[in-house]
């Protein structure tokens, strides 16, 4: 057996791959569910916080800034572990899925709030004044005049940050979440063969490459359209 064959036999072992394909597919579905929920919750919560912050209610803004800075400075892994192993002693035992989802959503919320907020504040004061002078309310001005301009500026940094945080779904393995990496590594220890890990990597590429490519497209499209 030459070394090439041995390499293929080790890393792309057909028998092992066939056996664990269902596991990897299951993990892929979990990862997709988790990623979608993280993105939806994180972006929505971030936008809501940025909108609340634009109301300029002092104590509320201090609270928002504190929460945002907290979740931007804690490593996501630490948050996952804290929620999963810490919360039960406070009377709530979230599943590994819920702890991972909540942690990543909170982190994405924090970064998204900062990005949305930067976008909102970058819109010239004259835009507010012109809109308000025609009788538009604060909320109408925000929705029809300020946000569309702010979102255009935020779309590139937001996409990049969203991808980075969504890849953190792999961190769920530390709390035994059955997502791609979790399924792949338990398959590796059961089969004494690294092939499942290659399948896992392939699954990540299939999942995230199109998103990264789409992000690149969004970035160039919105870069010169201002």
């Amino acid at each position: 057996m030459n070394s090439w064959n041995r390499f293929v036999e080790t890393f792309f072992n057909a028998k092992v791959m066939a056996k664990y394909l269902p596991d990897i597919l299951y993990g892929t579905v979990v990862t997709i569910e988790l990623a979608v929920l993280v993105v939806l919750a994180g972006l929505a919560a971030g936008l809501v916080l940025a909108l609340v912050r634009s109301l300029a209610i002092r104590p509320l803004n201090w609270l928002i800034i504190f929460v945002v800075d907290l979740f931007r400075s804690l490593p996501p892994l630490v948050i996952i572990v804290l929620l999963y192993f810490g919360l039960p002693s406070a009377g709530w035992s979230p599943s590994s899925f819920v702890s991972t989802w909540l942690s990543l959503a909170l982190v994405l919320m924090a970064f998204a709030e900062e990005i949305f907020w930067a976008g909102i504040t970058s819109v010239a004061k004259g835009q507010w004044e012109a809109a308000r002078s025609t009788g538009l309310s604060f909320g109408q001005t925000l929705i029809y005049v300020v946000l569309p301009q702010a979102l255009r500026l935020t779309i590139a940094p937001l996409t990049n940050r969203t991808i980075a945080i969504t890849k953190g779904t792999a961190l769920g393995t530390v709390v035994a979440l059955h997502e791609i990496l979790g399924m792949a590594s338990s398959a590796v220890s059961n089969s004494y063969n690294p092939s499942p890990l290659m399948m896992g990597a392939a699954a990540y590429i299939v999942l995230f490459l199109p998103v990264v490519v789409a992000a690149r497209w969004i970035e160039t499209r919105f870069a010169w359209k201002r």
């Binding site: 012109a130 025609t134 009788g135 109408q140 005049v145």
Partner: protein, 246 residues
Amino acid sequence: MAYPIVAAHGIHKHFGQLHVLKGVDLEVEERELVFVIGPSGSGKSTLLRCLNRLEEPSSGSITVAGIDMLSPRTDINHARQHIGMVFQSFNLYPHMTALGNVMLALRKVAGKSRSEAEDIAQAALERVGLADRAHHRPAELSGGQQQRVAIARAIALEPRVMLFDEPTSALDPELVGSVLAVMRSLRESGMTMIVVSHEMGFARAAADRVVFMDHGLIVEQGPPAQIFETPAHERTRAFIGQIRQH
């Protein structure tokens, strides 16, 4: 005396320690064009912005078209429909076409249907000579065209009074005329206007009254010929002299 459409009395405005308006009284009659001049920092913009409450006066009273602008019971967003404002920096919405800029408040504040708003907006653009630019974005328009769209955006709401804060100061000299021409035609249609500007030629030709402000007070006012030729106050004379030299 006719009933004043704008009546501001005893207007004071503080920005922290800075006392910017020190008891300004201004009454403007229907169809009158009042021209406001004065050195930079004398409080002209702040006064205009108090009239539609973009700036909250520290004290005083303001009535516009019979509406008590400072009463907490007044629906300020509704009241602002009656007071058009044009800014030095145009402030068009860059993500909307000219038509979209004019339509927004018609739809969301005046509550017009889409087709009604579109008709009114198109007519307003026609009045400022830009019917053929309706579907252009602000970035595709010259400064003069942008300012005329801004005027259309304000007049489409059929305001009772129009406020202009240095509408031509940001324009290249060759574009000033087109904006002044629109303002002239507005005036001829009977619009009540308060104009802060340095365009003395326009003031002479179109203003009923010139108001000179300095250090947060109205120093003197009167017909253009009187203020420009025989001002009563030394400060007015000095300011007019300075402007003339340009």
